[in-house]
Homo-oligomer: 390 residues x 2
């Protein structure tokens, strides 16, 4: 070591986690062991548990608090008595309003949870993100059990090892990496989603299929009408396959906390994040991702990176799922362009955009050609003008 160094240490170390995911039906039925077993796996029972539920979920399932209390009461050796369920405003509002986040921290504090207690978050992706961030930073991390209630959260965000809220007008500017203790997906709750929320999760399925699994894409394209018609027989296998690919990426992708630059599952997201913000979150995440995928596929085809018939097949699949493939906000090219720079900053380092090079195969590019992006926007706008919506 140089003379100026008196002690020089470079020590590698690693931190081990377990990703526990269950796709199940009726998670609050006391005969369903998933929630009980997840809590019991903590080894410090009876455990305290503070529950936070999405307002939208409670509207659809008003007996949820009563059923949760009954569930916990059925296993007194596993659960300490559960207090009232805290209500969290659903959708992006809970990530935009700093007061909501501060309130979540205070509620966790007031519930006198310890690090081996549980925070139970029930709802859509935004609620899981905000509650998850509060749980991750209270006492430097309370065990989080997510119960995602939307197609999007069950297929994608609910399985992620991250969380976050929006700040300074930037999506997910504040957050951290914190693997959940367990993720329990309840298929029954999907039944009460509005159609727009129902469709929303399938853009992520298209995303991973196009990048990773040509057979899955072919199945999605064939099943799109059934999925759109909410046929669980084809929709659930699609969600499960999407979840499996996301899980595999987290646990086997080599960089679960995204410490280097690897994020190949972010296809379609550079513009999607910006479109959400540009439309004041009128465009929900899954729909913005659909537009982003359509844009990136069209862009890749224009550059000759991706066969044009495949790009058209992806756009057609999204449309058949009832997802948007264009939004007028795309016309604000300057603002859209800022999205690419914000995306680069959020991921760090050089810009890295994942594009398809064939169905089921991806490539990374490190710059965007502005003229081609604008041409892709124009092409999607023209398609939108001649295609009836929905």
């Amino acid at each position: 070591m140089p003379e100026t160094e008196l002690l020089h240490v470079d020590t590698p170390f690693s931190v081990s986690f377990t990703h526990r995911v269950r796709f199940t039906a009726d998670v609050l039925d006391p005969v369903n062991p998933a929630l009980r077993d997840a809590a019991a796996a903590g080894g410090n029972t009876p455990a305290r548990l503070a529950a936070f539920a999405d307002q939208g979920l409670l509207d659809a399932w008003p007996d949820l608090p009563r059923r949760l209390h009954a569930y916990a009461a059925a296993y007194p050796s596993v659960f300490a008595p559960v207090d009232a369920v805290h209500v969290v405003p659903g959708g992006e509002r809970c990530k935009n309003d700093r007061g909501v986040f501060d309130g979540l921290c205070r509620q966790i504090h007031d519930a006198q949870l310890c690090r081996q207690s549980f925070v139970l978050a029930l709802g859509g992706g935004a609620v899981l993100d905000a509650v998850g961030f509060a749980a991750a930073v209270a006492h430097r991390g309370i065990r989080l059990i997510r119960v995602p209630s939307t197609t999007l959260a069950q297929a994608d965000s609910g399985l992620a090892v991250k969380n976050g809220i929006n700040a300074f007008g930037r999506k997910n500017f504040l957050g951290c990496f914190a693997p959940p203790w367990a993720v329990l997906c309840d298929e029954r709750w999907l039944g009460t989603l509005g159609d727009a929320d129902w469709r929303s999760g399938f853009s992520e399925a298209v995303k991973v299929a196009v990048l990773k699994d040509a057979d899955f894409f072919a199945r999605l394209a064939a099943d799109a009408p059934g999925i759109r018609a909410r046929d669980l027989g084809v929709a659930l296998p699609a969600l499960h396959r999407c979840a499996q690919i996301h899980l595999h990426h987290i646990v086997a992708g080599g960089d679960p906390f995204e410490l280097t630059h690897a994020r190949p599952l972010d296809f379609g997201h550079w513009s999607a994040h910006k479109l959400e913000q540009m439309t004041g979150y009128r465009l929900r995440h899954g729909h913005a991702v659909a537009v982003g995928i359509a844009l990136d596929c069209t862009y890749a085809a224009l550059l000759g990176l991706f066969p044009r018939p495949d790009a058209q097949a992806v756009v057609a699949c999204l449309a058949a799922l009832g997802l948007p493939v264009f939004d007028p906000a795309l016309h604000d090219g300057a603002e859209l362009w800022r999205g690419a720079e914000e995306f680069r900053q959020h991921l760090g380092g050089t810009l890295c955009i994942t594009l398809p090079r064939a169905l089921g195969a991806a490539l990374d590019v490190h710059q965007l050609e502005r003229a081609a992006v604008l041409a892709a926007v124009a092409e999607l706008a023209a398609r939108s003008a001649r295609t009836p919506v929905g």
Copy 2:
């Protein structure tokens, strides 16, 4: 799997980090490669760097910003031009004042850092904690280079893989686990510490010596007068040994993110954290830890768990270092007692207090006997009444 489960995944995965620590002299001298090499190791150069310095450090070293700019300018291939150094109020205030934390997040946002940029935090443990938390949650984690300026931060907190701020009247209630990118300890900066801050770090040295290394304790006891007199020839080896033991605990202790209940280096801390809060942070952390160690040693001796002569030797060593071994706040038994419960909640699960059973050897206990704690307080109060203050 039970019939209610459609997909059941329990997948272990791990996340890898490298702990880089350098003890060096004059970190801002351009001939010192430590800071340049730490940034270059990120592989994404020239890198943006936003610097945050402790007000107290800037008071002692007013040319620090000028020297930092000169250092960065000397390596234009490694560092992008550095903006003005942000000033952070030192001491616990920056952890207690939520406005300071929010300001740090905004400054990081405004600096347009990406995840492969660097936040450089220079100062004492409180500033490193607050800046580190902001860096850890902005973009879900910007690379943090800590330059600890106090004995306490160089020997202990600056090496930790955690950060945090105080909230709801609870020390470190909000924070997360996030290994720093690098820790660069500058011995020159120790020269301008006030005596109280100088002594503060050595209570952590006594702590790890008593738990882990009898030879180190013997050396500390022998060198205490020299350390108190600020003889670097004996003080620096003590800080380095303390740092080594803390590092070993993090990288080889098996649970760096404290996901289970293991925290054997928290000896003396259940009361110390509470005493800081009870005294409105008049008692700084290192001094509160000294009182906490004296209390726990005396308590352990009263219960017959730790030889009384050893307990007296530890108390005498702390006193010889010029550290307090009693504080009148200890007389508020009810409030002190709440500290044990708060400590349990912060760590999670069952109460776990590490006590010495011999010099260099520890044991864990899972309850505190209130009468014996009060008797230990009384014994230390009596000692304090007959001993002139250091």
